[in-house]
């Protein structure tokens, strides 16, 4: 009897261990029945999706579908809105983002974010990039320089700015500023990159440069890309989710979602019938 219970417990533990172990390898971020609301508005309704490590996960959907809100939930930028309510869970490496004792600063460092409009702070290029590292206490000039150089190279911006790192970042063009923002996010040494329509204001050439950078960066980061341009999702996305009015309608391999969507609303959206 005692032995049987022990065996049962052991087996149970073993299974649990096995499950979490394999999950850690295949899932980086996992939303479980995740809902988000503020005031009386429900912005996201029971989202369930898994994001795998080292993939480009794109989120498409019309305006006000909740895709940006979802992205901003992941690094808890929405905390600043009054009266927010989170329900369900979002797990990052198996740990709840909204659990007690989560260090939000550290969380935001692990999930670097790039906003829709490029925001170059009125500082030098160097100081723009060094902002995040300095805020977490990195002071050494050599360490900072190395971080700056590395992240600028990864954003394909190094060659264009290496001789004027101490000039104002505001003098850069729009496309360069957005790559600067990408570099600034990478200077945090994150695990995940959250990109919120990073090409919305850019010309096709700048867009292509950013897309090339993203495909290259996949090996180092998990990338979540929110985009209004469905073609962009089709070009760079490994898997894609379609959001509509705060709900996730469909999620799957990008190629399948674009060629054989399960839901008629998805096919309506990607063929341009609405949105």
């Amino acid at each position: 009897m005692g032995f049987g219970l022990w065996l049962w417990a052991f087996g149970f533990e073993f299974t649990v261990a096995l499950v979490t172990d394999t999950q850690e390898q295949t899932v980086k971020i996992s939303a479980r029945d995740f809902s988000f609301s503020y005031g009386t508005q429900t912005a996201l309704r029971r989202i369930n999706l898994d994001i795998r490590p080292h993939e480009i996960f794109t989120i498409i959907g019309p305006a006000r579908s909740g895709k940006t809100t979802f992205l901003r939930c992941l690094n808890r930028m929405n905390d600043a809105i009054p009266n927010v309510r989170y329900e369900g869970q979002v797990l990052l490496d198996g740990a709840d983002l909204f659990g007690k004792g989560v260090d939000v600063s550290e969380l935001r460092r692990r999930l670097g974010m790039v906003f829709a409009m490029p925001v170059a702070l009125p500082k030098s290029i160097f100081n723009n990039l060094a902002l995040g590292p300095r805020m977490r206490g990195i002071r050494g000039k050599r360490r900072l320089s190395a971080l700056v150089e590395e992240s600028l190279k990864a954003a394909y911006l190094w060659d264009e700015v290496k001789d004027r790192l101490h000039e104002s970042a505001r003098n850069l063009s729009g496309g360069q500023q957005q790559r600067l923002c990408l570099a600034r996010a990478m200077a945090l040494e994150p695990e995940v990159l959250l990109l919120d329509e990073p090409c919305s204001g850019l010309d096709p050439i700048s867009t292509r440069k950013i897309e090339e950078a993203l495909v290259e960066l996949k090996s180092r980061y998990t990338i979540i890309l929110v985009t209004n341009v469905t073609a962009q999702a089709a070009r760079v996305g490994d898997r894609t989710a379609f959001f509509l009015m705060g709900e996730m309608i469909e999620c799957g391999a990008t190629e399948k979602l674009f060629t054989r969507p399960d839901d008629p609303r998805t096919s309506d959206y990607i063929t341009g019938k609405f949105g």
Binding site: N75, M77, A80, P82, S105, E106, R108, R109, G112, M113, F115, M117, V119, L121, P122, K123, S124, L131, G132, R134, M135, R136, S168, R170, R184, A185, L188
Partner: protein, 279 residues
Amino acid sequence: MTRVHPKTKEFIAKMALRGIAAVVILTLVSIVGYVIVKGVAVIDLKFLFGQPRSMGREGGVFPFIVSSIYITVISLAVSIPLGLGSAIYLTEYRAEGWATKVIRFGIDCLAGIPSIVLGLFGFSFFVKFLHLSWSLLSGGLTVSLMILPFIIRSSEEAIRAVPQSYREVAFAAGGTKWQSVTRVVLPCALPGVMTGIILAIGKCVGETASVIFTAGTSLRTPQSVFDSGRTLAIHFYLLVRETGASDMAYGSAATLLIAILSVNFTAYYLMRRFLRRVS
């Protein structure tokens, strides 16, 4: 009725606006010019660094320059940290609500109090109640009450003008609120904050009513903040009222004006250099 041609209207408007601008500039130039022209004759090194004789009818104004500097430094030292702190609290740390409204209303009331009433308050509170007696400290503290609402308001405007997206960058980079304030918001708001402070310096130096009540009118060079002292502006007032030595009065007025103007110019120059470096 015939319609006036838009081009004619344009011409009239342009001329009228030019006229208004000319009137404003002329007024300014003639006031400053008049005082400086009348005063500059008595200004020399002996005037600037000498001691006054026979109640200021002769001699220099050195003690009054020292007192003015004391009052300005004390009131800025008190009101900049308090003012900037309040502005940061109101804009960054406190959501708009009844509390901010009450605080802002209080600030506006403080700004609306005539300086002579503040002088009376300074006299009964700092001079009598806190036993600071007539001293530069009492005077500086009283003047700081006067410029505090001004510094809060101008800093608040400057901080509010910093785009929200800058703060988001700081937060998204893992910054705390305080880090976003010190590393992103304040550096961007600095020109606006500085402008407020520069204008406040002018108010400090030129203040008379409240300082007479609190810092006194001693003719001696103050040795510490606990000494009584007479600022340039008060000296000017007393010269005209009590001695009738108008050339000496214009001399101190010109000194005052030149001092304020040079403070303004240096501050703007430094600020422009600073701005060119950062943006």
